[in-house]
Symmetry: C2
Subunit: 306 residues, 2 copies
Amino acid sequence: MKLAMIGLGKMGGNMVRRLRRGGIEVVGYNRSPEIVQTLHSEEGLIPASSLADAVVKLDGIRVIWLMLPSGEPTEEAIKELIPLLSDGDIIVDGGNSNYHDSVRRGALLEDQHIGFMDAGTSGGVWGLDNGYCLMVGGTDHVAQVLKPVLQVLAPAADRGWAHVGPVGAGHFSKMIHNGIEYGMMQAFAEGFALLKGKEEFAIDVAQVAELWRHSSVVRSWLLDLTAEGLLEDQTLTKVAPYVADSGEGRWTVIEAVDQGVAAPVLSLALQMRFSSQDSEGYSHRLLSMMRNAFGGHAMKNTGDKQ
Amino acid sequence: MKLAMIGLGKMGGNMVRRLRRGGIEVVGYNRSPEIVQTLHSEEGLIPASSLADAVVKLDGIRVIWLMLPSGEPTEEAIKELIPLLSDGDIIVDGGNSNYHDSVRRGALLEDQHIGFMDAGTSGGVWGLDNGYCLMVGGTDHVAQVLKPVLQVLAPAADRGWAHVGPVGAGHFSKMIHNGIEYGMMQAFAEGFALLKGKEEFAIDVAQVAELWRHSSVVRSWLLDLTAEGLLEDQTLTKVAPYVADSGEGRWTVIEAVDQGVAAPVLSLALQMRFSSQDSEGYSHRLLSMMRNAFGGHAMKNTGDKQ
């Protein structure tokens, strides 16, 4: 088995390492060439200097696995690949693309007789050692061709990967996975804030997090990571109270609206991230102004001491 | 080490089994005597016919561990125990008491020179085999006396139990644990509903749940149980869409209000349970009536086909 990996960042680079250690031949291309050389010398990656060069270095059914930022970079790469590929070749999108894009791209490539697989990939920086959790969408044929690759990337040949449905279903499942993640994270965050907030008990929240890892109902990988982080510094004073969000949390909420299915906690978890990002606090200023207006309630002014 | 276990239901009975298998002598009392006899013949429990009889069958520092429903039953047992105990004896409340009650009872018992420990206990029916996760509040002295017991009940002597603070801190931590549990459960529930709701992908949600158990970010014990349940029947048509709630979810939300600390997702997870319990749907009827009133929008009448 041989494939080309396009995009050798944090995810793509480690996936190459895992594939190579699993005995898969990998051709690799990255916009900045340093990592290509590193993976060549460390892992035996076959270096490519362009998409076209990567395609040329494959044979048989050519499989191109994209690990690029979603949106334009992925779109551009697919457009560039189409004229370089032949009937029956396969493009895999392992990035975090919106599933609507994947459905569209799958149809576009089908018209060109090129196979497509959307591979939702979880596992982050831990995937190299633990394996990646892979939700893939596509035809049975394409899933069959990719099976040896999925079996190496996954935690084990028989688990942690699955062909979950047609093109789009892979990225769709990954999107919902991330939506759930937002909700779980917010639940833990609120709970630990309440533990910390009960000052008279002076609870060591790192101790409680560690304790809950064993036989409690909330034990989870997110709790494992939280316990580790709190053990290092439970004041969190060095961490700014700003939580970024990437596409998938937003797409999950839009999906709930599209389906007309209630997902209030996933929606609210996203809104709380927006609130954390809002340094202006316009809505809070407005509320304070209104309280003052109708009830004459004292209003803090900008710059007042807490 | 020897203690008396009062209340031999699902939790108390299994805790007796685990204690006995760990070499701890246990005197047991239960309102209905059958389980006392069963545990006597199967596990060598020393049977007691009343609280007074249980106390008499202890020696040294007498430790009485209550596993009773919170509220009145626990309150009554403590009242009944006070005149039966001597200076330095210890009452442990391992039930799901409100932590405010535990603080009050701790002070009351301290006045009587009786020690008190509140032991928040997680692990449910799985605790017998896996061990119980124990969060205990009390003085250092009381925690020291109970240490050999906690080490047997916990998953291992060195983990899954901790002395988290003064009296009250144990039940407080357990309350927050359950609040987090509500949020996590709701996040999973909403995510799986969206997976199921995407009919065109015909996703096998049992397969996805199983898949996520391996190397995904949302892997957790709750997901393990969910995967098992969905594997059996993913239609869930036999399960009524009614979710009960016990005290701890409500107390967590009240705690957030008392502290003035935002816990919107934990609060909303609780509200969604209330919504599931509401067969009357008065607020939904009212909304439908209002839409009709101001906009003339068609209104479904009771008994209309979906």
